[in-house]
């Protein structure tokens, strides 16, 4: 049993001891180190920390009661409800797609796989405003399907379905691009074992694959949801800005802001900022449980490159 396996021995290398020079620099490095840390902190304070703080200070500028009044305003509540509804439709749609795409890409070899991966990423390269425009061109009154929709009294654009579609477009790659590297790294041994023991395809998916990918899936859902609830440009084009009906939270923030109702605008914005903080906390917890999640994007790219080579 202890006989060395030649193949393994050749590929196995002692992990290199991490040099400590970076963490405990000699004296002459200290100034440079201090300078760089200061530079990074000043930059991050100006561009990340202060914007976050300003949201809450502006929201509470006229006291807690003004803040609460702005949030329980019927129009604000309607926008919160709509935002939750849109995310509740868009995120599951993209989860189903993400799982299907990751299954096809990670378990099978087929021609054009790297092209498919590039196409899944495409919405990231498209301006959200253009995403909204494309749906307007299809479903708007002067769009391709406009006359048909009008004849059958179906409203897509300037109504909730359009907002959902635009949100799906901009959050399209989120779940897939987290799941593809996770499932590629897992391989297909577990599934093959389950199948050879007599499990059906669905059983294998529910009892073997899903538990394996749950952290990656939650990670993708978290990021997808944050973007879905916060999307502004794409939704702005197709919403029609009808108060209480087609205004999501970010659109409501814009309207209040443009009416110079700053306290109310920042109050609704503070809820979205809280959502962002919860998202970041959840993301950190998931990364702590599953450190590989952090490198997902890079592994994805490397796989992509291998596919092209």
């Amino acid at each position: 049993m202890d006989a060395p396996v030649p193949g393994l021995a050749a590929s196995y290398e002692e992990p290199k001891a991490r040099s400590l020079s970076g963490r405990n620099p000699p004296r002459e490095f200290r100034w440079g180190r201090l300078l760089l840390i200061t530079l990074a902190l000043v930059f991050l304070t100006a561009f990340l920390l202060l914007p976050l703080l300003v949201v809450f200070t502006q929201a509470l500028a006229k006291g807690v009661s003004a803040y609460l009044a702005a949030i329980v305003d019927p129009m604000a509540l309607a926008s919160i409800k709509l935002t939750l509804l849109v995310a509740a439709i868009a995120v599951p749609m993209n989860v189903v797609f993400g799982v299907a795409a990751a299954w096809a890409i990670s378990k099978f070899e087929f021609r054009g796989k790297s092209a498919l991966i590039t196409l899944i990423d495409l919405p990231f390269a498209v301006s959200p405003v253009i995403a909204g425009l494309t749906y307007l061109l299809l479903f708007g009154a002067r769009g391709w399907f406009g006359p048909f929709l009008q004849a059958h009294d179906i409203r897509i654009v300037f109504a909730v379905p359009g907002i959902v579609l635009a949100t799906i477009f901009v959050t399209f790659p989120f779940v897939a691009r987290e799941l593809i590297p996770v499932m590629q790294a897992l391989g297909k041994d577990d599934e093959e074992t389950a199948l050879s023991l007599g499990a059906s395809g669905w059983q294998t998916f529910w009892h073997v694959t899903l538990p394996n990918i749950r952290w990656g899936l939650m990670y993708g859902v978290l990021l997808c949801n944050a973007r879905a609830m916060g999307e502004f440009g794409a939704v702005s084009v197709v919403s029609g800005h009808i108060r209480g009906l087609t205004n999501t939270m970010p659109l409501h923030v814009e309207i209040l802001y443009n009416e110079y109702n700053y306290v109310a605008a920042f109050a609704v914005a503070s809820l979205l900022a809280l959502l962002a903080l919860v998202t970041l906390a959840g993301k950190s917890i998931l990364e702590w449980r599953q450190p590989e999640l952090r490198d997902g994007a890079r592994r994805w790219r490397d796989n992509n490159r291998k596919g092209k080579a």
């Binding site: 040099s19 020079s21 970076g22 490095f29 180190r33 990074a40 902190l41 100006a46 990340l48 920390l49 202060l50 914007p51 976050l52 300003v54 949201v55 797609f97 299907a100 299954w103 378990k107 087929f110 498919l116 196409l119 495409l122 990231f124 390269a125 498209v126 405003v129 253009i130 425009l133 494309t134 749906y135 061109l137 299809l138 708007g140 799906i168 399209f172 297909k188 599934e191 093959e192 050879s196 998916f205 944050a226 609830m229 916060g230 502004f232 440009g233 702005s236 970010p250 700053y262 914005a269 979205l272 900022a273 998202t279 970041l280 906390a281 950190s284 952090r294 490198d295 890079r298 490397d302």
Partner: protein, 281 residues
């Protein structure tokens, strides 16, 4: 002869190829490909002559120049400071490092409209930072510089997050070897570290740039939106739509899409070149 020897079991075929790939293609086509091609096809309605008149109108050219120029500038700033931040986060330990590490993703998580009004409040002449910059003669809010500031915010995590894992895996023995052989710190950085970082730096730059070109929510609040001066291309698309000038809006959209795709292809090629030249980590 059948059954004489137990055949070596082949692993069972994993099911669902047709279903999952079919659904992937269907959903991709319905949500992304068909709507995008519709935009290209609709722009043909204009005819070449009219299309050219629309996209070479001075206001359109100015907005495209601002969108791409500000995105380029912001991506450059992000490449530089993103490198500094990634370096500090990977190489140094100091109190609050993990918190800052988590904070870097804020622009991914914070809705762009919220970022927009927050940055505006910060950089107006009586805002926390605008007040400090005013005596220096620097005005950010409602100026083209405001566009750049918003785009820096949006793009920062792309650079930091692509550089971080590469920096973590960088072999510090090589740096020590360089130092032992008499290289100065700067020489070690430019000759040893930077070449290994190039592909990741370019990727981060490209991602930040691509995101910034199309950005709308965070920009419109801080930009002031003066035609010819601080009006970005996505805003001009929306303005044209509000005037029911669908053809004009589509023409600008097509130019933006073509320019973005061309740039991404170019940067991809450049990245492939850097990757081949300097090799994998």
């Amino acid at each position: 002869m059948a059954g004489a020897a137990a055949p070596i079991r082949r692993p069972p075929l994993i099911p669902g190829f047709g279903l999952t790939l079919g659904y992937t293609m269907l959903y991709l086509s319905l949500v992304v490909l068909i709507p995008l091609s519709a935009t290209f096809i609709r722009s043909l309605d204009l005819g070449v002559g009219h299309f050219w008149t629309v996209v070479t109108a001075p206001r359109v050219v100015a907005s495209l120049r601002l969108s791409f120029g500000a995105a380029w500038l912001a991506a450059c700033v992000n490449a530089l400071f993103g490198l500094v931040i990634a370096w500090v986060l990977v190489r140094y330990s100091f109190p609050g490092r993990r918190l800052i590490d988590a904070m870097v993703d804020l622009p991914f998580a914070l809705p762009t409209a919220v970022a927009g009004i927050a940055l505006t409040a910060l950089y107006t002449p009586n805002g926390w930072l605008g007040r400090l910059l005013l005596p220096l003669g620097i005005r950010v809010a409602f100026k083209p510089l405001g566009v750049v500031v918003a785009l820096i915010f949006i793009g920062l995590p792309f650079v930091v997050r692509t550089l971080q894992p590469v920096l973590e895996e960088l072999d510090q023995d090589v740096e020590q070897a360089a130092a032992t052989l008499g290289a100065s710190e700067w020489q070690t950085f430019t000759r040893v570290i930077l070449p290994a970082l190039w592909p990741a730096l370019l990727t981060g730059f490209a991602l930040a740039f691509a995101r910034a070109v199309g950005e709308y929510g965070s920009v419109i609040f801080i930009a002031g939106n003066m035609p010819m001066r601080s009006e970005i291309a996505p805003l001009l698309i929306i303005t044209k739509l509000e005037q029911y000038d669908y053809a004009g809006a589509t023409a600008i959209a097509v130019v933006m899409l073509v320019l973005s795709f061309a740039l991404m292809l170019g940067i991809n090629a450049l990245q492939g070149w850097a990757f081949r030249r300097h090799g994998a980590r």
